[in-house]
């Protein structure tokens, strides 16, 4: 059994502070997700990978300046497992 060194990915990859109120939230369909890792490459500010390559999404709203990147990450997912919901 090998234990991972360093953070296991449960913490956000960047050092941003608490999320301000926003409009959209990211969500993963865990059944559709096959750990291709496209989202962790394209949106490392909000999505990091667990030890098996599956995405851990920072909870809270997506900052407005990251929305275009979030949309790109959603489009890039090969299995369309990443979802961007408008919070109504």
């Amino acid at each position: 059994m090998s234990y991972p060194t360093g953070p296991a990915g449960a913490r956000a990859a960047d050092g941003r502070g608490p999320r301000r109120a926003g409009s959209h939230k990211l969500r993963v369909n865990p059944i559709a997700c096959e750990a291709h890792g496209m989202c962790t490459e394209l949106l490392p500010e909000l999505i990091s990978a667990d030890p098996w390559g599956y995405p851990i999404v920072t909870p809270g709203y997506v900052p407005d300046d990251l929305l275009p990147l979030a949309r790109r990450a959603v489009t890039a997912c090969p299995t369309l497992a990443l979802l961007l919901d408008r919070d109504d």
Binding site: D50, P51, W52
Partner: protein, 432 residues
């Protein structure tokens, strides 16, 4: 209300003596009342009845959601009708209350199904039962259904659905997948069952005990229901493990665990700890458990849960760590294998717990187990990863002394005994 004597105190759900015929059933409880949907749903909401299947979701809210979805849907102005699924599959291995209820009081459950069907405008009703070892039960319940059909009692006939064995197939969306012709594996929500479930229609999935309570509330009212249990009502609990008289007991919620254990004859051996809430619940040291009321809020505050009303008494002769490792291993084998964090994380967690219980773990194993628990929680389509993580964490916390002992001098001799907690068909290291 009914001209019959309103039931006072307990028992409510389980009639004394054997199962009642249809006539005797109506003799004891009165006929199925004619209730308008809005009135019944309002009563259930006022009664504060929560689901008895383990999740504890407010039953009135669920009924209302399905009823509203059913009335706002429908193509071409016609309604396709909702679907009622009575969940009697009871996949929690340490629980026996649902089969006891179905065996002793099937008509109460069937009353509840009929009332719920009218309340939500259902045109299909299913009763989910575990296949195989439930055959005798299926025959019994089938006879009760036939009895009602002969009497022309229910608007919609109830169809028994056999559910494959396993922990996960009786989950709400897994049942619906099964009804839709697929494998009994949980589905991603949204859409939630009340919006779009079996056959694409709004679906009400309710535990059989919850439906039985609905059948009584329809007759005797919300205030009557709240007379017991500090207004939380009554519930069926399964007490097992090292007690003199293991079995299903009908209690008023809020009864202290110690009193419940006494009702079950008291401990059969020197007691060590109590598992409350089944395999998604938590461990309580015996002394601390005695005073905790049997209710979801109190048990959660104490670090456990009510779940489907399951209490197991662990004796001193067993090793709590070994039992925790055993059930975590079982739960890991029950993964539907659909979600990466669960399919990967639970076996890793099980292996780590096995090391902590049976091996000579290095200093990082405990930290890794805790990290794994945090990693998997909430990242699956169903609650298997969260429930397993909570159970494992609770074990590591409650049996911290054993952890220290094992780390110092290896596993204690108690780990050699056969596991106390039931895990049907499971062997160590078995994976899905």
């Amino acid at each position: 209300m009914s001209a019959m004597t309103v039931l006072a105190g307990l028992p409510r759900l389980i009639p004394p003596g054997g199962p009642l015929s249809l006539a005797d059933h109506f003799g004891r409880y009165g006929p199925v009342p004619e209730r308008d949907a809005g009135g019944l749903i309002g009563d259930i909401e006022r009664a504060g009845l929560t689901g008895r299947g383990g999740a504890g979701f407010p039953a009135g809210r669920k009924l209302r959601a399905v009823a509203q979805a059913g009335h706002s849907g429908g193509r071409l102005g016609r309604q396709a009708g909702a679907v009622v699924v009575a969940n009697g599959a009871e996949s929690e291995p340490a629980s026996a209350k649902d089969r006891m209820l179905l065996a002793r009081s099937p008509h109460l459950v069937l009353d509840g199904i009929a009332l719920a069907a009218d309340a939500v405008g259902a045109t299909r009703c299913y009763l989910a039962l575990h296949a195989g070892r439930r055959d005798e039960l299926s025959v019994q319940v089938g006879a009760a259904i036939a009895e009602r059909e002969q009497a022309g009692l229910d608007r919609v006939g109830v169809q028994i659905v056999p559910v494959p064995r396993g922990y996960v197939p009786s989950q709400e969306t897994a049942l619906i997948s099964l009804l839709n012709g697929g494998a009994p594996k949980p589905a991603f929500v949204p859409p939630r069952p009340f919006q779009k479930g079996a056959h694409g229609r709004p679906t009400l999935v309710q535990n059989v005990e919850t439906l039985a309570h609905i059948a009584l509330i329809a007759r005797f009212g919300a205030d009557w229901f709240r007379e017991l249990g500090g207004s939380a009502g009554s519930a069926l609990v399964t007490v097992s493990g090292a007690v003199q008289r293991p079995g299903v007991y009908e209690i008023a919620l809020g009864m202290p665990i110690g009193e419940l254990i006494s009702r079950a004859g008291g401990p059969a051996e020197q007691p060590q700890a109590v598992l409350a809430g089944g395999y998604f619940g938590g461990w309580l040291p015996y002394d601390r458990a005695l005073g905790v009321p049997v209710s979801d809020s109190a048990l959660r505050a104490a670090g456990a849960a009510l779940g489907p009303g399951v209490l197991v008494l662990l004796p001193e002769s067993a090793c709590g760590l070994a039992e925790t490792a055993w059930i975590t291993d079982y739960l890991a084998s029950q993964s539907a294998g659909q979600c990466g964090p669960c399919a990967n994380g639970l076996p890793a967690l099980a292996d780590t717990l096995k090391q902590l219980a049976f091996g000579k773990p290095d200093g990082r194993a405990l930290g890794w187990a805790e990290e794994l628990s945090a990693l998997v929680a909430g990242r699956g389509a169903c609650h298997l990863p969260d429930g397993t993580a909570a159970f494992a964490t609770s074990g590591l916390r409650t049996f911290a002394d054993e952890l220290r002992q094992h780390a110092l001098s290896g596993p204690c001799p108690r780990v050699q005994r056969r596991p106390l907690l039931p895990a049907p068909g499971h062997t160590w290291g078995q994976r899905s």
